[in-house]
Assembly symmetry: C2
Homo-oligomer: 381 residues x 2
């Protein structure tokens, strides 16, 4: 496993990121805004469990309380999470004039901020347009959260859900045919060499330490940060469950049938990397003088929780729900690499293979145990 | 003329505005981003003349300096203006660590913020994506600047160019057939009754006082605000020059030829209102305990300055330049009311009528004198 690497000053300041990295824009049938119900449900259950920590955040009694949602995407999920947080914080000031509230909604510049802002100004609870729809000032912040985005010591509560497992870039070595980390023929990591996984781990470590360094600078003393992101069990082999691992088989089939160029498959790699708890702790250990770990819970993934809460009635429904969530989050990235037609073909095949696998029991996934998420609460010392 | 009306609390908090109000999105051939060269040139000449005032803005020596561009639209104009202001402010801190900088780019939620953010991250001066393209944190703020948008006492320098002559709404009475202010048959104000102009003046006064009240709350003590917006000479009749006034004649022709429904023309009114200096001073007088007027210059309009700086070689060129600037700023609003086809027809006819008028000398406009702009610099006491 890679040795610990702290980010350089220029990395923390960097705005570098893959420009194709974005959730499906707009609010159409395939949009992330409409296909992230499991994530929304998950957060609506997680947030109340951290209310006691929100109640202890060190806040100014007047002036402005600043909340940031990092990697908010363009839909209502981020807005709803923030609404819950603000409502909870405001309850501490009932009967007093109290501070004002400012919320930063942050995502990469390619995010559909237009849609986000439309959502901000439409509210089912708003009786008339004359009434401000939300009790806070709102701003959108384009940029990479792996660099500095906000003034020093300015943030009181930071939230980031389902975003930190997206790497800012695929490590160069993974594309380098002369490197032991070269990952040609693989589109994912479960069959990859340990060198490939090491290269990913190193990039993931750089990203997480850059993130923590930037937030250490930006958070006010006593401020609190809630981070939710994907986690895997063991370091090697890299396993995240058979339904995700099935995808590489589909790409290989499309290549062997001559429908997708082998070079395209070889040059595709996954932007998502689920860390192990050990990797997260290694990154955190470099920031022990900045952050106190208040909570570190491992939970089943949003998809798993979603099926536990509202079970699917058929293999078709399971397959549809898995495919929809995957398409909304990763579809644009696939399209930018493979093109629209190949991506459609892949998604169709993927869904069919899921249905077939569930029907004939060759695909058995213990979802609650195969993929996890980490719920991490940090306080700025 | 209407009596002085101060905004109510709910008006200052209000986020109400006409949803169609926006400049042409994107960066296509008709976009505001590409058809606002006169405005950009104008500001590039105005800004250096206020550098002495920027040098005197009361700024924190550490922490964060906050700049807001109100009504920034989606192109590079606003970004370039802000870049100039920030560069000037930063020169005060050369050789010291100094404060950090945060810039709010504000416009209505319908503004193309996606395009604005793309522009923010593309810079001809940026050698590599690893270098942050701009020396400030940037955030987009969707909302109406006629209401509160920012935390109290948080803004050090506020800039708003070519935005304050856009009213938040057309006064209701102007649409009311039973009102003396009813403006049916007119699409502009130069032939309207004094009651119509009074109704507009009242709305414009409400808007300007709401704007000043919101900024009085948001600006830090010693902060400075530069406002540039359209101005007319006399109160009544409302005159802004023959090239603009020609537009009403074109709509009437289209109606009389049966190409546009008379009801559509009757229900169309101009969102732009050029105040008189007297109207501006009346609004300012209500805020004398909040703002010092540092400068109050009347200048020719951006279009006029543009022709003075780079003269047109033919009637066709004059007509094209006038039509392009008008289309970029007002085209979307016309389309949302008249539909795309009628708007195209109107713009074509307008351009032809301009050419004909210039060629046969029936259209003679003393541009430097017919339309003015006000350059107003206020300091928060």
């Amino acid at each position: 496993m890679a040795t610990m690497i702290l980010p350089t000053e220029s990395e923390v300041k960097s705005t570098s990121f893959s420009p194709q990295l974005r959730m499906k824009a707009g609010d159409g049938v395939e949009s992330y805004a409409r296909n992230s119900v499991p994530q929304a449900d998950f957060m609506s259950h997680i947030l109340p469990t951290v209310y006691d920590m929100i109640d202890r955040v060190n806040l100014p009694q007047e002036g402005v309380v600043v909340v940031a949602d990092l990697g908010c995407a363009s839909g209502l999920n981020g807005i709803r999470n923030v609404d819950s947080v603000i409502e909870r914080i405001r309850s501490r000031f009932v009967g007093t004039e109290g501070p004002e509230f400012l919320v930063y909604f942050q995502d990469l510049p390619g995010c559909d901020f237009n849609n986000l802002f439309q959502n901000l100004f439409s509210s089912p609870n708003s009786v008339t347009a004359e009434v401000p729809p939300r009790p806070y000032f709102a701003a959108g912040v384009p940029g990479s959260f792996y660099g500095r985005l906000f003034p020093a010591s300015s943030l009181h509560f930071v939230l980031s859900s389902f975003a930190l497992h997206w790497l800012s870039k695929i490590p160069d070595a993974v594309y380098d045919k002369t490197s032991p980390a070269y990952n040609g023929e693989h589109t994912d990591l479960h069959l990859s060499s340990i060198s490939t996984v090491d290269a990913y781990a190193e990039q993931a470590h750089r990203n997480l330490t850059s993130f923590l360094a930037a937030r250490a600078a930006e958070m006010a003393k006593g401020g609190t940060m809630l981070l939710v992101f994907g986690l895997r069990e063991g370091y090697y082999p890299y396993r995240v469950g058979p339904t995700l691992e099935l995808q590489e088989r589909i790409w290989n089939e499309l290549v062997s049938e001559g429908l997708v160029e082998p070079e395209l498959r070889d040059s595709h790699n996954n932007h998502v990397y689920f860390r192990t708890l050990g990797e997260v702790e290694k990154a955190l250990s470099g920031f022990s003088s900045y952050f106190t770990v208040e909570r570190r819970d491992i939970t089943p993934s949003p998809l798993s929780s979603s099926f536990a809460r509202s079970p699917a009635s058929s293999s078709e429904e399971i397959a549809q729900r898995i495919t929809s969530v995957f398409t909304a989050a990763g579809g644009d990235l696939l399209e930018s690499h493979f093109g629209e037609l190949s991506t459609r073909l892949f998604l169709q095949r993927y869904k069919e293979a899921l249905i077939e696998g569930f029907n004939n029991k060759t695909l058995v996934e213990d979802l609650p145990n195969s993929r996890k998420h980490l719920v991490l609460v940090l306080t700025r010392k």
